[in-house]
């Protein structure tokens, strides 16, 4: 069957048509006789429009971008294979250029991703732009309070917004200006371009796209014209630079806001009160935040005594920190009316219950004390405890004595019962208040625990109050060995007649 079909197919259909055999090779093939006279041309004949049968071809016929390769036939005739390398060169050039471009953009992205600091990011943009994109580069930040900060590779500074040249004003408004001779003119007139002998041929003022508004403006100058390829690359670069600058500006702005709020929630510096010395340590569970649900407060009173407190609101992070701010504020305000720790706790309890929506289950635990210097250089401490870990007394005989007071949580029950008592500190003795972040610190061998804490403080009465607090923080963190932890707060009060 197959044979029959084959035999009936006309032979002419299987024979190659003119120029067909070598159509895809990309080469022209020229057959010449021994004298160089062309006998036939095949393959990619359009490469040789003027070469037909009868034409003469010399010994070394290279012309322009055509490459000729000779193949001798046994009878003296010879073949020329002719190839055009222009496209190849172009393709290789384009490939290399593209590689360089994406390499540059990739390294730009890496470098721009490093910093969240606006000035460092602007400096990185300038450093990346020279000399790849321009001979000089300058970045301008969006105006702030009438001033515009700028960065060049050799310097940085600021100018009044009103003194910006018009192309920069346009770019700052997001109206992009391209290179044209008048940009050079205008920048020169405004005194923005460098001495006349170095005067660039072209300048480019381009806005760096940000979040909605431009994140800044890039000014590039060059001793050569910007080509279309240059402009495409610059545009790509600018979009990356804009994202980085906008990110850094946003971060700086949020950090400014956060740190303002944070400062108001950080523990206040410890005051000086005659006859006593204080030491404290604080470590928030979310360490970068530095604020949390633990708090301490020391309030010197006008009669030479002082109120001191350490507490813990339920929860962690910003929400907890905000609540500690409220509690500390209540404590400060109410201490003007009431100095007895038990009654003061009851007032804080009422205040919290009053300001509360029903489903709010937030509560606080706290030790609140009043310290009054005694004639012998010791201190009389009146303590009140609401659901908090009992304070520890570091005695002169090196022993550690817990004050057995517990009481109910604060901010939960209208009829809460807090525990109160009076203890004495002899000169040189210390009272330590701490949060459960210390005793519940989880190490490789379980929780740190109250026994280890008491052991660690044994014999520490000789230490200044600050050193005692530091020691508790140190041992707790060592115990944790880098593990996550709850907020940690320590407040030490020492009867210090010499201070």
């Amino acid at each position: 069957m197959t044979e029959t079909t084959a035999s009936t197919t006309p032979r002419t259909d299987t024979a190659p048509r003119r120029h067909e055999l070598l159509a895809g090779s990309g080469e022209a093939v020229v057959l010449c006789d021994r004298h160089g006279t062309v006998l036939a041309v095949d393959g990619r004949v359009e490469l040789l429009p003027d070469t037909g049968p009868g034409a003469m071809i010399g010994a070394r016929p290279d012309t322009g971008t055509l490459r000729w390769r000779r193949h001798d036939l046994p009878d003296g005739r010879h073949l020329w294979y002719v190839r055009d390398v222009a496209e190849e060169t172009e393709r290789t050039d384009a490939l290399l250029a593209e590689r360089a471009r994406s390499g540059f953009l990739a390294s730009a992205s890496r470098r721009l991703g490093l910093s969240l600091h606006p000035a460092r990011t602007a400096r990185a943009v300038v450093d990346l732009a020279v000399p790849k994109l321009g001979d000089t580069a300058m970045v301008l930040a969006p105006p702030s309070a009438g001033r515009v900060s700028w960065w060049r590779s050799d310097a940085s500074g600021w100018v009044q917004q009103t003194r910006l040249p018009e192309p920069v004003v346009d770019a700052m408004a997001g109206l992009r200006t391209h290179c044209s001779p008048w940009v050079v003119e205008e920048l020169t007139e405004a005194g923005w371009l460098w001495p006349a002998e170095q005067r660039p041929v072209s300048a480019l003022v381009i806005s760096l796209p940000g979040n909605g508004n431009p994140a800044g403006v890039l000014v590039l100058t060059r001793s050569a014209e910007f080509t279309d390829e240059d402009l495409a690359l610059i545009e790509e670069f600018c979009s990356r630079a804009g994202i980085a600058l906008a990110g850094a500006a946003l971060y700086a702005d949020q950090v400014r806001t956060a740190s303002t709020l944070q400062r108001s929630l950080l523990p206040a510096p410890l005051p000086y009160v005659e006859g006593m010395s204080f030491g404290a340590a604080y470590r928030a569970s979310r360490e970068a935040l530095r604020i949390g649900g633990d708090f301490y407060e020391v309030l010197p009173l006008s009669d030479g005594t002082a109120l001191f407190a350490l507490g813990d609101v339920c929860g962690k992070g910003v929400e907890a920190a905000v609540l500690t701010g409220e509690v500390r504020q209540s404590l400060r305000a109410l201490s003007r009316l009431e100095r007895d720790p038990l009654r003061l706790l009851a007032l804080i309890n009422e205040t919290m219950l009053d300001g509360k929506a029903m489903p709010d289950r937030r509560f606080v635990t706290m030790v609140l004390g009043h310290a009054a210097p005694a004639a012998d250089g010791g201190l009389e401490l009146t303590l009140a405890v609401g659901g908090h870990l009992p304070p520890l007394l570091l005695r002169g005989d090196a022993s550690v004595e817990p004050v057995d007071l517990r009481g109910t949580l604060i901010g939960v029950f209208p009829d809460a019962r807090f525990a109160g008592g009076v203890v004495r500190l002899n000169p040189g003795e210390t009272c330590v208040l701490y949060s459960d972040g210390v005793t519940e610190a989880k190490g490789s061998r379980g929780m740190f625990g109250e026994r280890r804490l008491a052991d660690a403080l044994t014999g520490c009465a000789v230490m200044p109050a600050g050193a005692v607090a530091e020691r508790v923080e140190l041992l707790t963190t060592e115990w944790l060995g880098g593990r996550d932890h709850d907020d940690i707060a320590v407040l030490a009060l020492r009867a210090d007649p010499t201070c």
Partner: protein, 335 residues
Amino acid sequence: MLTAERDKLFALLGNADERGATAFVLDLFEDGTPPEDLLLDLVAPVQVKVGDFWATNRWSVAQEHAATHISERVVAALSARTPVSPTRGHVVVSCMDGEWHALAARLVAEVLRLRGWRTTFLGASVPAAHLVSYLHQEGPDAVALSCALPVRLPHAHRMVETCQRTGVPVLVGGSGFGPGGRWARVLGAAGWAPGAREAAELLERRWPPEEPPRAQLDHLVDDEYPTLVKRREELIEIALAALREEFPAMANYAERQVEATIEDLGHLADFLAAAVYVQDSLLFTDFLAWMTAILDARHMPPTSLIVPMRAYWQALYDFPRARGHLEAGLSLAQS
């Protein structure tokens, strides 16, 4: 600085006399001693002596702690007396997380401040997250990191990398980086200075560095370090069992003594892991020499180090690098 003055300050620290110590140093300042000399030639060497007294058991840990605290207060008091308007760049000085020996770093910060740098001292044991957010916020010209103990080097490396990723070049210092700062280069820090004066000179003359060196940690591909960290508790158990076999008297140890032993075994494992991290037996043998001196001061035999090292060596049969360091340690301890 005269020996008499150092002795006087040391005595005041020994009595935990904060007021006396502060007044003594401030008086020397009023009498014309340059503050930099007071910091580096008086406070610093006296603090070294405090450390020695603790290590050799002549002072209790409470005494050492009180003295260190007072030294810090003395430095703060002197700082308050010597305001300087900054004329140079901004340097952030910080102790790494878990690094509580803050005085040396504080002295660096103070010397830089006195020499016209705007300095920010972030304090002891600064959490990495806090330091990084601070660097992003401030964009300083340099961050100076202190590391007092080589056992913290793996952590130091992460911190150096993290800081460098914010684009801020890192200067390191502290005895943790080894003799001549040999491990600072291994970790790829941009600069190392043995002391406060050298740090100031480095920042004045050769900063920012051209190109920070690349970390030389190619040996870490063998995974010995992370595996050691993961097996830490298991290794301690093995060593504890070996010790119990060698010293039957341990059965009568109080819980506190057992905990102290476990802590020591943990140090041994941690220093071994750090030596594996930087691939240098010297880190491990230095620790052993120090530990032997401490044991000696406490009248304990070096056998209590040799037994756990042998136990680690046996357990770590497929850890050629760790074994190499243990062998170096054993030959030192047995000599």
